[in-house]
Every structure is written in structure tokens, then in C-alpha cells.
Symmetry: C2
Subunit: 134 residues, 2 copies
């Protein structure tokens, strides 16, 4: 079992948790660092990263990597939902598109894997970028 170790809610951890939950733009670790820094000037990168990993382990926060961008993004909404990424500016938005119940079974049958879930990311253009080019 992955029994999460006990958890101490320090000011740093509370600040990071709040920053992720308050954000709606899927911030990167760097973004979160920048947003938390003003309230805790002493905080360092390492604490932010360690905290984010801890929060992910505890299921308080969801980590996602989308598209060709190699940087991790964090989502305070841990409920089931999907994402859309703008190919123009890289923005990531939430969206929920229910798939038929059969897809996981289909995937399992086709691959031989046991399938527990999926990640679905749509690719397109946000309203701002849609009119520009292409």
C-alpha cells in the first residue's frame, strides 16, 4: 500500500496549496514560486518542488504535462476532467467531455494492458489565437 506518511501543514505548504487551488491557469512550479514568494520572502525553489511532490502524493493536487512543453503544470482540481491546449500561446484550459464507458474496455482488449484510466488533451486554438494565423 502507498500509505501516505503523516503530514505537517507548515506555512510554506499551506501557501503552495492555496496558490494551486486558487489558480485557474494550470501554473508551473516556477509560477507557483513567484506567486508564493511575496508572502514568504524566504522560501526557496526546493521547498516548492518538495511540497508539490508531497501534495501530488497525497492527492491534493494533480500534475500534468501537456504538449511539447516539457515543464510540469499543476491543477488544483483533482476531479475527473480533461484539458484543451492552445497551439498558439500554450494556454491550458479545463474542459469535461464524457467518453463512452466502453473506451477503457476497448483499450484494454486492444492492448492487453489492464486499463485504469486515461488522460485526454484536446489541441486547438484559444479564442484569442484562433483569428490570427493559419
Amino acid at each position: 500500500m502507498t500509505s501516505p506518511r503523516p503530514f505537517r501543514l507548515t506555512p510554506q505548504r499551506a501557501a503552495v496549496l492555496r496558490a494551486v487551488h486558487d489558480a485557474s491557469d494550470h501554473p508551473t512550479a516556477r509560477d507557483i514560486f513567484a506567486r508564493v514568494k511575496p508572502g514568504l520572502p524566504g522560501i526557496g525553489f526546493a521547498t516548492v518542488y518538495r511540497t508539490l511532490n508531497l501534495l501530488v502524493e497525497h492527492g491534493e493536487v494533480r500534475e500534468l504535462r501537456v504538449g511539447e512543453d516539457p515543464v510540469g503544470r499543476y491543477d488544483g482540481d483533482t476531479g475527473r476532467h480533461d484539458h484543451v491546449r492552445c497551439a498558439g500561446c500554450g494556454a491550458v484550459a479545463d474542459v469535461t467531455v464524457p467518453l463512452p464507458d466502453t473506451v477503457q474496455g476497448d483499450a484494454a482488449a486492444a492492448s492487453g494492458f489492464r486499463v485504469d484510466g486515461y488522460e485526454l488533451v484536446f489541441v486547438g486554438r484559444c479564442p484569442g489565437c484562433a483569428g490570427e494565423r493559419l
Copy 2:
């Protein structure tokens, strides 16, 4: 316009292209470097990366990043298909699960984005890892 520049098929490029097309395991740039090195001992990392980017631009190869792993993987199959990732060992396999035609329209309606496509990655356990734990 993204008019692909002319293209010279050097031995290095041919080797990288062949390595990706022959692979079925979605190798990383590092994997490809290791596989190509024996046949071209002089080759360097930079050439592999530059070549992979070139091949992606020309649509000869597909780049994908899946899961919490920040490293890029490459797929010689450029046709429409999906992937399954093993949460145990990190293996990535191909799978094709057609989704209803309505999903892209649903996503567009729900997000306000123009939606051109999607990436679908199932998460589960490969046959080898399924029996082990959890």
C-alpha cells in the same frame, strides 16, 4: 507559412529515421542516440536532437510526452492512434480506440476553443506489471 525547407538525407539523418521507424517502443532521444551510435561512432547528441526536430517538422516522425516523465519520446507511426502507458514500468504501447465524432465538437462548445485534434493516453498496467502489486 511553414514551408519545410529542402531536406538533405545524410547518413546521420537516415540512421536516426531508420532507428525511429524500426522501433516499436517509443524511444527517447537518448535511446535513439545509443542505437545509432554503434553504426556512426562519431555522431553527437546535438545531431540526434536536431535531426529529430527536423523529422518532426517534416511529419516523418511524431513526438510525444506522456505521463509524469518529462522526457520526449518518438513514434515512427504518424497515423492516428492512441497510447497506453504502464504505471509500473513506464512502458508505452500503441493502441487505437476510435472516439465518437462528436467529442471534438463537444470540447469546442464547452471551452470556446477551436479544436483541431486530441491526444489520448490510457493509464494502466502492462501484462508483466499487472500481477505484481496493487
